[in-house]
C-alpha cells in the first residue's frame, strides 16, 4: 500500500539544503539531464545535483553492482526500462514515496500501486529519416516497408542488449510481427549502435539516412536545431517506452532525494522535459510544442514489463543470431 502523498515543505527544503547534494543516476540524454539539474539548482540554490548519465542498462548494472557490494552512492534513479523497477522493487531497494503531484495527476497504471516508483517520462521509439537524403515519397510508411531492398545499407539501429527502449520495442514488435521479420531485417546490412540515443545522432551526422529505432526526444531536439529529419509513425503502431523514477532506500541524501523526486514530477520539470528534452509526459497540464504530433494522434504499442522480463534472454539470443551482435 502506497504511503501518503507529500508536498515540498520549507522543512524538507531546509533538510535537503543541509545535505547539500543529490545524486541522480539517469538514462536521459546528458544535455537534457544537465539542463534539468540546472533548473533544480536555480530553484533550490545550495543543493548540488550530480548527474550520472549512462545507458539504461549501464545504470541498472551499476546499481546492481553497487548494492550487491553495499555501496550506496545514488539517491534518485531513472531508467527507460520499466523492467528494472520491477526488479528493484522485488529486491526491496526502493523507498516508497508519492509526491502530491503524482497522487493528484498521474494515471493509475503509470505509477506503482505501492508507491515505489512512478512514470517520470515516456518516449516513443521512432522511425525517422533525413529529408535531404531520402524523398518523402520514398520514405517507409510501415515496419514491413523496411524490408524493401531500397533501404539496404541505409539504416541505423540501436541494440536491445544495451538499450531498454530498444529492448521494449523489440519485444512488442517481435510479438506483433514475429521473429522472421527481424531475421529479414537483419539481412538489410544495418549499422548497429548501442544506445537508443545514438541512431538520431548518426542521422544528424549524415552517416545513415534512416533510423529503425531511436528516442523520439533526440529526434525532436535535432529537428529543433534545424536538422533535416522527419519522424514516421508507422501504421502498425509505435512502441512506447516508459521511464520510471524512484528514490533508493539507502539514499545517502534522503531529504534532498525526496525534494528532487518531487521536483521531477512538478509541472516545471515535466514541461522542461517536453520542451527541451522532447519527452512525453503523463502530467496532463504539459503543453506539447508546436509542430509535434500529439500522443493522442499516434497509435501507441504498450508493453507489459512483467511479460517482457522472462523473455529477455531469448530476445538477446535471437537478436544476436539475426544481427550478429
Amino acid at each position: 500500500e502506497a504511503p501518503a502523498p507529500y508536498q515540498i515543505t520549507p522543512e524538507l527544503e531546509a533538510a535537503a539544503k543541509a545535505e547539500g547534494k543529490v545524486v541522480f543516476y539517469t538514462a536521459t540524454d546528458v544535455a537534457v539531464a544537465e539542463k534539468l539539474a540546472e533548473h533544480f539548482k536555480t530553484k533550490f540554490p545550495g543543493i548540488d545535483v550530480q548527474v550520472e548519465r549512462a545507458g539504461s542498462e549501464r545504470v541498472f548494472q551499476r546499481i546492481g553492482q553497487e548494492y550487491s557490494t553495499s555501496i550506496y552512492n545514488a539517491d534518485v534513479i531513472e531508467t527507460s526500462d520499466a523492467v528494472h523497477f520491477e526488479y528493484f522493487k522485488r529486491q526491496g531497494w526502493l523507498e516508497p514515496m508519492v509526491p502530491q503531484e503524482v497522487a493528484d495527476k498521474w494515471p493509475a497504471d503509470e505509477r506503482d500501486p505501492d508507491g515505489n516508483f512512478a512514470a517520470y517520462r515516456a518516449h516513443l521509439s521512432v522511425l525517422a529519416y533525413r529529408t535531404d537524403l531520402m524523398k518523402e515519397a520514398d520514405a517507409p510508411k510501415t515496419w514491413e516497408d523496411l524490408l524493401d531492398p531500397r533501404f539496404k545499407d541505409k539504416m541505423v539501429k540501436a541494440h536491445p542488449g544495451y538499450s531498454g527502449t530498444v529492448m521494449t520495442s523489440t519485444f512488442v514488435l517481435s510479438q506483433m510481427l514475429g521473429w522472421d521479420y527481424f531475421e529479414k531485417l537483419g539481412k538489410q546490412n544495418i549499422m548497429q549502435v548501442q544506445s537508443s540515443t545514438e541512431p538520431p545522432k548518426k542521422l544528424a551526422q549524415g552517416e545513415r539516412a534512416l533510423e529503425v529505432d531511436g528516442n523520439e526526444y533526440n529526434v525532436f531536439r535535432l529537428i529543433d536545431e534545424g536538422k533535416p529529419i522527419k519522424i514516421v509513425y508507422p501504421d502498425e503502431g509505435t512502441p512506447l517506452a516508459v521511464g520510471n523514477a524512484a528514490v533508493l532506500k539507502q539514499a545517502p541524501h534522503p531529504n534532498a532525494a525526496k525534494l528532487f523526486y518531487a521536483f521531477l514530477f512538478s509541472l516545471d520539470a515535466q514541461q522542461l522535459n517536453s520542451d527541451f528534452g522532447g519527452l512525453r509526459s503523463f502530467h496532463p497540464d504539459v503543453k506539447e510544442k508546436q509542430g509535434r504530433t500529439p500522443l493522442s494522434k499516434i497509435k501507441v504499442l504498450h508493453s507489459d514489463p512483467a511479460k517482457l522480463e522472462p523473455e529477455i534472454q531469448t530476445i538477446k539470443a535471437n537478436y544476436e543470431k539475426f544481427f550478429g551482435t
Partner: protein, 572 residues
C-alpha cells in the same frame, strides 16, 4: 686494537631484504593470484544460483556466438600483428639504418602515436572513414561527383577495425625493432660484406634475422594488445555487426548479468596469451641473438640514393594515417558543430569546449581521477618494479626468481579478464573496494606491472653488481647502497618507466570499464560513455585535453633536472 673499535663503531644495520621480500611476495600474490582465483571460482558456479557446475564451460564450447567472437578476435589480432609488423619493420629500418631525412622527428612522431589511446584513434577514424559521413568519403564523392551511396573506405568493417587498431599498435613493433637495429653492431654486417655479401644479401641474411626477436616480440605485443583490446572493437565492431571476445564478455555483463559465463569466457584468453608467449620462446629456440664480443662499431647507415623519395613518401603516408589525419579529424570535430559540417567561419564553434569544461559535470572529477590514478599507479609500479628487479637480478634472496615470475604474469591476463577477476575479488563484501579509486589503482598496478618490471629489470642488468658491492665493502648497508649508488644510476630508466606506466594508465579502458562508478569516473570511461550517446564533439575535446596533458606530463618528467633530462624511450 683500534681497528676493532672501528668495526664496532660502525652502524650495524639489519638486513631488510627478507622482510621486503616477504612483503612484496604478499603484495604481488594478492595483485595477481587473487583475481585469477576468483575468476576460476566463478567460472565453476552457475549464474542462476546453485552450486558448482561445468555449464559455463559447456556453454563456452556449445554457444556459437561465443565461438564466433573468439574466432573473429583471434583472426583480428593476427591480422593486426601482421599488419603492424609489415608497416613497422621497413619503417624502423628506414629510420634506424638509412640516411632518410628527419629521422629524429619521425621517431618522436611515432612515440606520439603511442601516446594516443587506441579508442581515441578509433573515434578519429569514425570521423574520417565512416562510409557516409566520413570526411574522406565526402571528399571522395565531391571530388568525383558520385552519388551518396558511393564510398571509398568503410571503417565499420572487419578490415577497418584491423586497420584502426594496427595504426595505434604498430609503435610497439617499431620501437622494439628500431632499438634492436640500433644495437646490431656494424662489424656483423661488415663481416658479411667482406665475405662477398651484397647490401641486400647482408640485410636479408644478417641484419633482419638479428632483429627477428624484436620483430617477434613486437608483433606478439601487438597481437596481445589487439586480442585484449576493448575500446576500439566496442566503437567499431558493433556498428559493423560483429562481436569480438572482449565486447562479447562486456555484453554478458548487461542485464541480466551472467558473471559465471563471463568468467568462463575470459579464461581461454588467458590460455591463448600464455600459449603465444610460449610459442615465441620456441620459435627463437637455441639460437643466440645477443651479440657477443668486445668493442664493436656503430651501426652503419645505408645511403638511399634515388630511393630516398620513395622512402619519404612511404613514411609520410604511414605518419599521415597514424598521426596527421586522426589528429586533424579530432581537431576539426572539436571546433565545428557536427562532423559533417565543412570548415568555415560559420561552423567554427567553441560549443563543445564550453559543454565539456563548464556544463558537463563529470569532466573535472574524471580529469582529477585520471591524473591522480596515473600518478599513483606510475609511482607505485615504478617503486615495486625497482625493488622486485633488484631482488631478482641481484639474487639477494633465494626464491626471488618467483617474484619476477609473479611480476611478469599479468602480461598473460588481458585487461577485460582482469577487470572481471578484480570485480569478482573486490566487489565482495570482505573488501568493499568497489566504488573506490583503490580498486582501479589495484587494477592499473596489476596491468602495468609487467611493463614496469621489464623496463626496470633490463635497466638493472646494465648496472654492474660490482658497483653495488663496492659500496657495501666501503661500509654502506644494502639500502644505503641502493639509494646512493643504484638509484642515481638508474635515474633515466626510472623516469622512462614512470612515463611509460603513466601513459599506459591514462589510456586504459578495458579493465576500467567494469570497475568505475559514479565517483571514480575516468576520462577514458566518460569518453566511452559519450561515444555511446554519440557526442563526438565532446569526445574530441576530451581527447585533446587527455593528449595534451599526457604530453605535458611526459615532457615535464623528462626535463626536470633532478630526474635526469633524457628522452622518453618507449618500451625498450
Amino acid at each position: 686494537m683500534t681497528s676493532i673499535a672501528q668495526v664496532q663503531g660502525r652502524r650495524s644495520s639489519i638486513d631488510l631484504s627478507w622482510p621486503t621480500f616477504a612483503l612484496l611476495s604478499l603484495v604481488l600474490s594478492v595483485l595477481v593470484l587473487l583475481p585469477l582465483f576468483w575468476l576460476a571460482y566463478y567460472s565453476l558456479r552457475s549464474d542462476t544460483g546453485g552450486g558448482a557446475t561445468l555449464d559455463n564451460f559447456i556453454a563456452l564450447v556449445a554457444d556459437p556466438t561465443l565461438l564466433r567472437a573468439y574466432g573473429l578476435a583471434i583472426s583480428m589480432a593476427l591480422a593486426v600483428g601482421i599488419l603492424a609488423c609489415l608497416i613497422a619493420t621497413p619503417m624502423a629500418w628506414l629510420v634506424a639504418r638509412t640516411d632518410l631525412p628527419a629521422r629524429r622527428i619521425i621517431r618522436m612522431l611515432v612515440t606520439a602515436s603511442f601516446v594516443t589511446p587506441p579508442f581515441i584513434g578509433a573515434i578519429a577514424y569514425e570521423i574520417l572513414a565512416a562510409p557516409n559521413s566520413g570526411i574522406v568519403n565526402i571528399i571522395y564523392r565531391s571530388a568525383f561527383g558520385l552519388d551518396p551511396s558511393q564510398y571509398l573506405v568503410n571503417i565499420y568493417t572487419f578490415s577497418g577495425l584491423v586497420f584502426a587498431i594496427a595504426c595505434f599498435t604498430f609503435p610497439y613493433v617499431f620501437t622494439l625493432v628500431a632499438n634492436a637495429l640500433d644495437k646490431v653492431p656494424s662489424d656483423l654486417e661488415d663481416a658479411s660484406s667482406i665475405l662477398g655479401g651484397k647490401s641486400m644479401t647482408t640485410l636479408r641474411k644478417v641484419t633482419i634475422p638479428l632483429v627477428l626477436p624484436a620483430m617477434l616480440a613486437g608483433t606478439l605485443i601487438a597481437i596481445l594488445q589487439a586480442l585484449t583490446m576493448f575500446g576500439s572493437p566496442a566503437i567499431l565492431a558493433l556498428p559493423a555487426g560483429f562481436h569480438v571476445i572482449t565486447t562479447k564478455i562486456w555484453s554478458l555483463f548487461q542485464f541480466p548479468p551472467r558473471l559465471g559465463l563471463a568468467a568462463a569466457a575470459a579464461l581461454p584468453l588467458l590460455i591463448i596469451t600464455v600459449v603465444l608467449l610460449r610459442a615465441q620462446k620456441s620459435i627463437l629456440g637455441r639460437k643466440g641473438y645477443t651479440v657477443l664480443g668486445g668493442k664493436s662499431g656503430t651501426p652503419r647507415i645505408t645511403k638511399l640514393g634515388s630511393w630516398k623519395w620513395v622512402a619519404v613518401a612511404f613514411v609520410f603516408c604511414i605518419l599521415s594515417l597514424t598521426i596527421l589525419l586522426p589528429y586533424l579529424a579530432i581537431l576539426k570535430t572539436a571546433f565545428t558543430g557536427t562532423v559533417g559540417d565543412p570548415i568555415n567561419f560559420d561552423t567554427l564553434t567553441l560549443r563543445h569546449w564550453k559543454f565539456v569544461l563548464f556544463e558537463f559535470s563529470a569532466t573535472q572529477l574524471a580529469l582529477r581521477n585520471t591524473f591522480l590514478l596515473g600518478f599513483l599507479t606510475a609511482t607505485a609500479v615504478t617503486a615495486i618494479a625497482l625493488v622486485v628487479s633488484y631482488l631478482v637480478i641481484r639474487r639477494s634472496v633465494p626464491g626471488a626468481r618467483y617474484l619476477g615470475v609473479l611480476a611478469t604474469a599479468p602480461v598473460a591476463i588481458p585487461g577485460i579478464v582482469l577487470g572481471v577477476g578484480l570485480f569478482l575479488s573486490y566487489a565482495n563484501p570482505t573488501f568493499q573496494l568497489y566504488g573506490t579509486i583503490w580498486i582501479l589503482l589495484i587494477a592499473f598496478m596489476t596491468i602495468e606491472l609487467p611493463a614496469g618490471y621489464q623496463q626496470m629489470s633490463s635497466a638493472f642488468a646494465g648496472v654492474h653488481p660490482e658497483l653495488e658491492e663496492a659500496g657495501r665493502i666501503m661500509g654502506a648497508s644494502r639500502l644505503r647502497t641502493l639509494w646512493d649508488i643504484t638509484a642515481p644510476l638508474l635515474r633515466t630508466s626510472v623516469v622512462a618507466a614512470w612515463c611509460f606506466v603513466f601513459v599506459g594508465t591514462i589510456r586504459e579502458l578495458s579493465a576500467t570499464i567494469l570497475l568505475t562508478t559514479a565517483n571514480t569516473k575516468l576520462v577514458s570511461v566518460i569518453i566511452y560513455d559519450l561515444n555511446e550517446s554519440g557526442d563526438l564533439g565532446a569526445i574530441c575535446v576530451l581527447g585533446i585535453i587527455l593528449l595534451v596533458a599526457s604530453f605535458a606530463v611526459v615532457f615535464v618528467a623528462n626535463r626536470v633536472p633532478v630526474l635526469g633530462g633524457s628522452q622518453m624511450n618507449a618500451r625498450g
